[in-house]
């Protein structure tokens, strides 16, 4: 006999909870039914504004069709309001007279628009802005009437006003305060917004207190406290929402401003849960969608009786969904004493950005006109990241967008539908926005899964986030500040790394057991990461798990689109001899290599090699003195060098020789991501050392050490770590920096984003602050190298892992 789970409230929070629950095996224990007061299945309430503006239809915003309920065995009762909860007998009574028992109850009754208690508030033509019925009333009014007054200059009011204007009405917005959206914007931002809306034809009555709604049967005007009046055929009250807790209150559940719940989303009656806008959690009632989704996840987990996961509150951000106006606000925006602000204002371009800084971290962000970097600031805010090293350029945004070929297209909302967003997979803006609305997507991961946008190189992630934000507005669920490694766990990379060290976990199985992995074998995303963490933490002890490595690292070559492999022999410092080149040429002839190419890292790439030929080819290369170039791995790739002092008239130090020494030190080491070095002999920097992970620029007086550069997806110039005097020091600092990166960066995080995440100051403190610690890091690096510098090519040429390279021929 299944337990009965009843959901009161057929809206976004409640249904999201059921969706989360259905993802879990334990959902099977429930027979689920849903009661909704509205006649519709679950729809996307956030998108009512675009429906009002005529940009979408009601069908576009349905999230769960009636078929969805049926397919999941959920009984749906629409248009039937629950009137009473009988907690003693665990029964509900509905308006239509139904009586239903429950074992568990979920309340998600949402909120009601607040109607100002003034005379005339009950006249015909006076409404809130909350549901499809309100939108239908407004749309029909716009066909017969001309003048609309919207009371409330907040997010909802402005969206309603914009929609009514789009439907051809003359719209006046009445606002009690002297500033629009005063809970999200400061003066300059609000003023800029007001100007843009006025330019579109919206009128404003500021600091106006509504005293009375005029009219006999239908509204005819509004009178204010100062005695002035305006005419109106339609009045929309959008002054705020109140949690809808009346039903819960009558049932005797403890309520304050909302239904009070704990961190597991339970009310004071443990059989009754509540989520969404109707609840009050740790003193806060949320009116935005993103927190509801976090609540839904936790609530589902407890309904499934899994018993982990707590809701600890959310930091929210706001986006205005008025086509053509980009606005973003998050956190605090009015400075307290001691706070600092960074402001960029360009009146002519209509751009205003302000960041509020306290103790070197962002506490709030307000942006109008250019909101491209809103999600980046919001992320820095939630992480509490130290921004001191970014300070001088932070207002200009995170440059990964511009550098990935998207140029100045910062106003994503203004791009046309056929503008290409994801260059790797050829996904256009229209594909993404259609998927977001038709499939009901809320997170970047969901967009990625459905459209492939940002699923390859990731450089357009910011654009995709911006599209998500402008399409679903405040409902956009920004990635949580603590990001789980993958779907197999709730733990973050940092938590896993810490556990491996603290609990001395030395095998993959033990890790899965100890950290309660949700899948039996992990997945293609977490296994390579875990294998790396274990390998980097326990050199010589952990047994490398080849089946947890991506094929390139398992086969020690780069898989190509036709299933063949490419082979890159290592040439230390890029130096080679005629004998080396002859050996490579002979190998190419013998194995009929169809194409050779000189790589960007000064090596020679041999393409089109059949997998079964690899060991024999490596045998020849190995006998000629070559080792693997690791061009296929999350590993140390190459040390690039310039002509050097021997030949170059500008050369200052023995840069080429130093490059060879660095490569001899670092070759073979596994890394969180690929890792490149370069040594230039003078500041002309022909080896391009300032876009490498670790770069050395020789000068007459010594060696400049540069870190965290990148020439790929997002070009980043290195930061100067320090200057040293001798080659020995270069090697020691290189080993220490490399080891710090190996121990602390997340898998698949290049040094550039890692340095930005932890801050240059931190790295300086670890490498330069304490000589003993630097030496210890370098020693740990060298210890790991004892196990890593065993040439994998020679091992396989000698017969290791033969099965990997040998297909089985069947005579059928």
């Amino acid at each position: 006999m299944k337990e009965k789970l009843v959901l009161i409230g057929n809206g976004m929070a409640g249904i999201r909870t059921l969706e989360e629950l259905l993802k879990l095996d334990e959902a099977d224990k429930y027979e689920i039914s849903v009661f909704g007061a509205e006649p519709h299945p679950n729809y996307n309430r956030i998108l009512l504004s675009p429906v009002l503006a005529g940009e979408k239809t009601i069908d576009d915003i349905i999230l769960n069709s009636r078929e969805w309920y049926a397919e999941n065995g959920i009984t749906l009762h629409t248009g039937d309001k629950v009137n009473e909860i009988d907690r003693v007998n665990r029964k509900l009574k509905t308006e239509s007279g139904k009586e239903v028992g429950y074992d568990r109850l979920l309340i998600a009754t949402g909120s009601n628009p607040f109607i100002i208690p003034v005379p005339g508030a009950d006249l015909e033509g006076v409404i809130g802005f909350r549901d499809i019925a309100d939108v239908e009333t407004m749309l029909s009014a716009s066909r017969s009437y001309k003048r609309a007054v919207v009371i409330g200059g907040g997010l909802l009011g402005l969206e309603a006003a914009n929609g009514l204007m789009k439907q051809g009405m003359e719209v006046k917005v009445v606002h009690l305060m002297d500033r629009l959206m005063e809970r999200q914007l400061d003066d300059p931002a609000a003023e800029l917004l007001k100007c843009s809306l006025e330019a579109d034809g919206m009128e404003f009555l500021m600091e106006a207190q509504t005293a009375e709604i005029l009219g006999d049967e239908r509204v005819s005007g509004v009178r204010f406290a100062n005695g002035s009046e305006v005419e109106a055929d339609l009045v929309v009250m959008a002054v705020g929402i109140r949690p809808n807790m009346e039903l819960a209150q009558r049932a005797g559940l403890y309520c304050e401003r909302g239904i009070v719940v704990n961190d597991t989303m339970q009310t004071y009656d443990p059989r009754i849960y509540a989520v969404g806008e109707c609840v009050q959690h740790r003193g806060i009632c949320y009116g935005l969608v993103a927190p509801l989704f976090e609540q839904a996840k936790v609530c589902a987990n407890h309904l499934a009786q899994l018993g982990y996961g707590r809701y600890e509150g959310s930091v929210t951000s706001t986006k205005l969904k008025v086509t053509g106006i980009d606005l973003f606000s998050a956190g605090e925006f009015i400075e307290e004493e001691g706070d600092e602000t960074l402001v960029l204002q360009d009146q002519a371009q209509g751009v205003y950005k302000k960041l509020l800084i306290r103790d070197n971290s962002i506490k709030g962000a307000v942006m109008v006109g250019d909101t491209m970097d809103g999600s980046w600031y919001f992320q820095l805010l939630r992480e509490g990241a130290d921004i001191s090293s970014l300070r001088s350029s932070i207002l200009f945004g995170q440059h990964d967008l511009g550098d990935a070929g998207h140029g100045d297209e910062t106003r994503v909302a203004n791009l046309s539908a056929d503008a290409e967003i994801c260059g790797c997979n050829g996904v256009c803006k229209g594909d993404i926005t259609n998927a977001i609305t038709s499939k009901g997507l809320f997170t970047v991961d969901e967009v990625r899964a459905h459209t492939k946008a940002s699923a390859s190189c990731g450089s357009c992630t910011g654009l995709v986030e911006a599209l998500l934000a402008s399409t679903v507005g405040e409902g956009y669920a920004a990635a949580p500040s603590k990001k789980a490694m993958c779907g197999c766990t709730e733990l973050s990379h940092d938590e896993v790394i810490k556990a491996i060290k603290k609990e001395e976990i030395k095998s993959m199985r033990k890790l899965f057991d100890y950290l309660n992995w949700k899948t039996p074998d992990g997945c293609a995303s977490c296994r390579p990461a875990l294998n790396y963490y274990l390998l980097a933490s326990w050199p010589g002890e952990y047994q490398d798990d080849l089946q947890s490595r991506f094929i390139n690292e398992r086969a020690h070559g780069n898989i190509q689109k036709d299933g063949t492999y490419s082979v890159v022999p290592r040439m230390f410092g890029g130096l080679c001899t005629p004998k080396d080149l002859r050996a490579i040429a002979d190998v190419c002839d013998k194995f009929e290599v169809p194409e050779m190419k000189v790589t960007g890292g000064q090596r020679i790439d041999l393409f089109g090699v059949k997998k079964e030929d690899l060991p024999a080819m490596w045998k020849d290369l190995s006998e000629a003195g070559f080792v693997s170039g690791h061009a296929y791995g999350k590993a140390m790739r190459t040390v690039k060098t310039c002509a050097g002092k021997t030949w170059c008239r500008f050369g200052t130090q023995n840069s080429t020789g130093l490059g060879v020494q660095l490569e001899e030190l670092t070759w073979g080491s596994w890394m969180p991501h690929k890792y490149k070095l370069a040594v230039s002999g003078c500041p002309r920097n022909c080896a391009e050392a300032t876009i490498k992970d670790f770069g050395v620029v020789c000068v007459d007086s010594g060696y400049e050490l540069h870190i965290g550069g990148n020439g790929g997806i997002k070009v980043r110039v290195t930061d100067l770590l320090c200057k040293v005097d001798s080659e020995e020091e270069v090697l020691e600092y290189c080993g220490a920096f490399t080891q710090l990166y190996r121990e602390e960066a997340h898998y698949l995080e290049r040094t550039a984003p890692w340095v930005e995440r932890v801050g240059l100051d931190y790295i300086k403190q670890r490498i330069l602050g304490d000589e003993a610690e630097r030496k210890a890091l370098h020693e740990r690096f060298k210890l790991g190298q004892e196990y890593a510098q065993i040439d994998p090519w020679k091992a396989r040429a000698d017969g290791a892992q033969a099965n990997e390279f040998t297909p089985i021929q069947l005579a059928v």
């Binding site: 899964a449 074998d521 293609a524 080849l546 069947l810 059928v812």
Partner: protein, 109 residues
């Protein structure tokens, strides 16, 4: 029903790994799960013919090495929002040896 053909010893396939079996007209990937169950699937991803044998196996699915499509090894179907299907063949272990039934199949995809 076609006959069971012995192809390889189970011990010659790594756990959560695969071997490639070449017949006259196609390549088949034979996978071994962490529970020693075996699966046989045509070695071509329904997306762009990526060699599934080279992917990372987890549970009873494999992630294609070329573009990360996830393929269910029991049905040959793409998982998640991706759509597509490749051939699968009956596979079993008898006394430590892997056997397949290789009925002639028409390509699906």
């Amino acid at each position: 029903m076609s006959e069971w053909i012995e192809v390889v010893e189970l011990a010659q396939i790594p756990v959560l790994g695969s071997r490639v079996i070449k017949t006259r007209d196609m390549a088949i990937a034979v996978f071994r799960g962490s529970d020693d169950r075996v699966y046989a699937i045509r070695d071509a991803c329904p997306h762009k013919n990526g060699p599934l044998s080279q992917g990372i196996m987890h549970g009873h699915s494999v992630t294609c090495p070329l573009h990360n499509w996830k393929i269910d090894l029991t049905s040959g179907e793409a998982l998640g929002p991706d759509e597509g299907c490749t051939n699968v063949f009956p596979a079993r272990v008898e006394e430590g040896r892997v056997q397949l039934q290789l009925e002639p199949v028409e390509e699906v995809a």
